[in-house]
Symmetry: C2
Amino acid sequence: MSVVLVIIIIAALAALGFAALNYKSIKSMDEGTERMSEIAQAIRIGADAFMKYEYKILIVVAILVAVALGVFVSWYTGVCFIIGTLMSGAAGWVGMKAATHANVRVANTARLTKKMGETLKVAFKGGSVMGLSVGGFALLGIFIVYLVFGKALGQLNIENATTLYKNWMGVEFVPFTMSLSGYALGCSVIALFNRIGGGIYTKAADMGADLVGKTEAGIPEDDPRNPATIADNVGDNVGDVAGLGSDLLESFVGSISAASILGVHLFLSNSNIGTELLEKLLYYPMIFAACGLLSCVLGIASLLSRKNLSDNPHRELNGATWVSAGLTMVIGLVLTLVLLKDVPAESFKEIGFALGAVSPWVGAALGIISGILIGFIAEYYTSYDYAPTKKVAAASKEGSALTITQGMAVGMISCMAPLIVLGVALYVSYLVGGMFGVAMAGAGMLSFVSATVSVDTYGPISDNAGGIAEMSKLDPEVREITDTLDSVGNTTAAIGKGFAIGSAAFAALSLMISFLYSFNDPTTPLQLNLMDPLTLVGALVGAALPYMFSGLLIEAVAKAARKMVDEVRRQFKEKPGILAGTDTPDYKTCIEISSKGALAEMKLPSMLAIVVPLGTGFLLGPWFVGGLLIGATVSAIMLAIFTGNVGGSWDNGKKYIESGAIEGEGKGTDAHAAAVVGDTVGDPLKDTVGPSLDILIKIMSNVSLIAVALFNKYNVLAWIESLIK
Amino acid sequence: MSVVLVIIIIAALAALGFAALNYKSIKSMDEGTERMSEIAQAIRIGADAFMKYEYKILIVVAILVAVALGVFVSWYTGVCFIIGTLMSGAAGWVGMKAATHANVRVANTARLTKKMGETLKVAFKGGSVMGLSVGGFALLGIFIVYLVFGKALGQLNIENATTLYKNWMGVEFVPFTMSLSGYALGCSVIALFNRIGGGIYTKAADMGADLVGKTEAGIPEDDPRNPATIADNVGDNVGDVAGLGSDLLESFVGSISAASILGVHLFLSNSNIGTELLEKLLYYPMIFAACGLLSCVLGIASLLSRKNLSDNPHRELNGATWVSAGLTMVIGLVLTLVLLKDVPAESFKEIGFALGAVSPWVGAALGIISGILIGFIAEYYTSYDYAPTKKVAAASKEGSALTITQGMAVGMISCMAPLIVLGVALYVSYLVGGMFGVAMAGAGMLSFVSATVSVDTYGPISDNAGGIAEMSKLDPEVREITDTLDSVGNTTAAIGKGFAIGSAAFAALSLMISFLYSFNDPTTPLQLNLMDPLTLVGALVGAALPYMFSGLLIEAVAKAARKMVDEVRRQFKEKPGILAGTDTPDYKTCIEISSKGALAEMKLPSMLAIVVPLGTGFLLGPWFVGGLLIGATVSAIMLAIFTGNVGGSWDNGKKYIESGAIEGEGKGTDAHAAAVVGDTVGDPLKDTVGPSLDILIKIMSNVSLIAVALFNKYNVLAWIESLIK
């Protein structure tokens, strides 16, 4: 299996090398006018300051968690956790740095060339640094974990892989699964911080800037007279770039480790599987991910290497994604057949592979296809090319109340179709590949994550470029180019959200299955019985958890946004020269308000994700937590789809009115004002709440999986029961 | 057991007699000025017309369903279904008639006496007709079903009760459970129509009236110049009175029949229980309900018989409710001990009664207490006496977007506490009374339904009285009295919603348990295994269903409201004399728009509730439907709590601003306008969507329970599997 490790490190290094190349290429470009350079510098400084401050807190949290893991689980879980935080932290940092260098170069390219294709290339190159870093660092970490813990420490030797390790508390663990889980948890914790912190930051700044600027003072978006405008642009980088990157890195790692861990558990509960297949199941998800990463390197290069890009950014970006996804499926199929060719048919049967060697690939392919379908469904409900968002835009003519009402209707109705797609993929991948097939559907969906993240990151870079163009008072033509790129970015973001929630669902499910294997009776089929009242109550409380988490996040954004509103109002009042254009606003205070607000408000929701499964686990035991996890997962999937689509629909409904497609309406009309209300309400829903929900369910599953052996042995309810007996 | 039947018929007749007395007493009162009488007449005609039209459709639907039940299940299911529709239809009709007579008398009493206490008494008397009819007709129907089908046809003779009946398709049913289920389904179908139809009607009229009247024309609520104002007042009667009454009647019947049916299934799967206990389990929920109804008669009489009521309506109403609830618990305890005193201890043990004879009463008591607690929690989140709604009101100062955002945050956070209460009640009632204890928690929560419905109905009657006062240009003092009564009604409505959703959760759960018993392997503990992929997929799709249903309902209201807006605008434009007060508006066209809109738009969501469980059942079989039911139930509970509380909070946030509690704010300020947007958005959520969700989950469970024997035998998936084998 050493060949596998070689393939993985090649894939990781290829991705990271390509990222470094693109980073260097971006930095070597000219920043444009002095004013542009100044503004870019201000954004960069703001973003750096926030990330540094956030990472300082993270270091403390990470060390505490690592020590706790080391003491209560095992030292290698703690060390792997640290590796996870380092990899995810690095990806987020590098990607964000690249974005803050790329934004101004995008604006400058548009200024110099006036060409859509050229500008797109720079923006995508900037985004590709994040995309490739996500895949590269994630696989690099996995490589280290496999090499050091799996190989050097022998956890992957079959006899060790299935031997239980007993810690000083007498709690038993399967060693390698605890290394992998530790690594995944490290990535999760960074994602939690970057997503929630960044999410609150960006939306507080955005809402604050809009509420006073657009609505009260009547100045356009990104107007340099608005004191919150730099903070708004910083927010794009720390929220939509760094947050998104760590989020998808976490999903990527989570889906791979969930599938690998499941492999071990399947082996443990089916003694007839044979050690040969076990070893392959342990490696399969990872090698498939390496295939995906290599395919993405090729897919991204296929776009960047072309001399002349067309003026249709949507087609170009889709091209890169399809090449990556297509190659992943083809290379993945070849590799699957090679890897699994010698496995005896009985082993396949034992593990539920109905179609033999090709079975896990079918699961992965179903994951890819369903991810794409969910993305299309999101596009249908949120793009103004289709009826639902047109209806939302039309409702704006009747005022803001009906805009909100109609948007909510669209968002709620939009939950059904993706769930049917998910359901079919889940059921068929199970029929073909058993539980492992389901896990591979998740891993497959994320295998070409580097391409989707590159595309997703290009959006906020273009958005920032537009802001810099506006603030530097460049030719309106420049803004037009960046606006087109930005609006395409909105659609790609909606598709990206489909992948994020779909994969989170599969990953959470695979982790949950492993969780259940950890304490279920191995002689009976795997169970999570909702007629067990403890499990049912867990599911009920679990279902309420994402609502509470979302509510807290919305409140956090609203609170920080209100502070921003007050500050902007104060500046306008105290320095009337700002609006007249004779006085410069104080951008720094606004940046500080966003930073402090984000870091203060993220604590409670973040704690919830970790404390609730642990607390209830040690109180009520694993059956309650099993219910909690399934309840939270199902409920979070719904809310994530709802918030994502409702927010996208309001956003694009507003854009539809701005485009002049509704007769007599446009910027400045009452209908537009109503649409702006919808957009403002949707902002925290789609950009803070929705993406954070993906992380919530994965981190809960991860924490539970690591701690289940502990609270299965030690919990208050079991103790009371033992007293009664 | 004939004594039990006597007690039941006494309770039913006492309630119906008392209702008739109060109805007569209301009608004998004077209507006041000619103008008042005219307006009341117009509201009455509008309400009658809608109900008649709705009932005409219902007759067709009911006959079709009854025939289908008769053919595919058994003739007695069809007949009992018809009895259910008659009872529920009668209660809705009588209660609504009483309300449309009481409204004008309430206004007149306020006009003549200027006394809060006197006015409250008339309003409550009007409401009590609905409350007592709900309890009376429900029990009357149950009495008939027990007497005719149980006794006369011998379905309750022990040998028959547990003997399976085989219909011509070879499908087997337990006879009496199919009679009870048919009866419950009849009540459900009426509730579905009244709640959804009435809910769309009332909110379309309300939103339409507000959107043009308050927001555009700047005239106050209930201003006679607003063409939609009569439709708005009609809506209160068909939605908040008739809809609410049939809804709670359905819950009441559902919880009783669910518990009784569960008793049979428990007996069938625990052969050691003994026939004596079985018979008692069959009667127990019904006799407890009769206790509750008698207690309500006394509780309601305790208020109406007093000469001088205080000026604190909240205290007076609470008094009546506490007396009813307290008596129910005391009488219920005595009766439980008498009824179950001779049962051998082993039988109790077999069925999971940990505390012997008192066990089912503990379940019922937990239901009552948790219902009250959930009500208090709803009050905390929605009343402006507490922090959450104050925050929503404060957010209005920053505009409508932050009002919506802050309200959503409150609504989402508010989901956790009631779920914990429900969870604890569920778990403890299970520990004490087994599955039957859980079912009794639901039946207990609803046992004093007549008191809660009386209190709930008094709200819309007072609201209507205020409307009549405004339109008749009575002394502002009259309006002040009715406004106070109305605002207390808002709080009691929030508490009532807590009962509605809590009881729906328990009832759906008990029905689901019976559903599972219908096809689970009787030799193993009852299972609903979410690790069975078919069940899991069912749960995922099920969880999306309430979202889709809610989205369709919101869209229906928005669509009908938009038509109303257009009509009101048209009238204002074509007859400028209306706003000047020199021309009378055309109320009738607005009433027609609401009626037609409601009846057209209710079809799709209503179909969903019936077609989805049946369709998926015959396609994918009972395990999928099991998942569907649990997913839908959990998801609907969340949405019902969220929509109820978010709507209540926006409504009262607006009232808080109107009360002048925020310095510098009040009617006419920007903050008030923002709060009105929140209130308008919340209206369909809290009054159409939330209550309809309660019915959705019960009707789905009921339909599934009746059809499970059919689709367990005949479904496409099983057929395909048999082909493969």
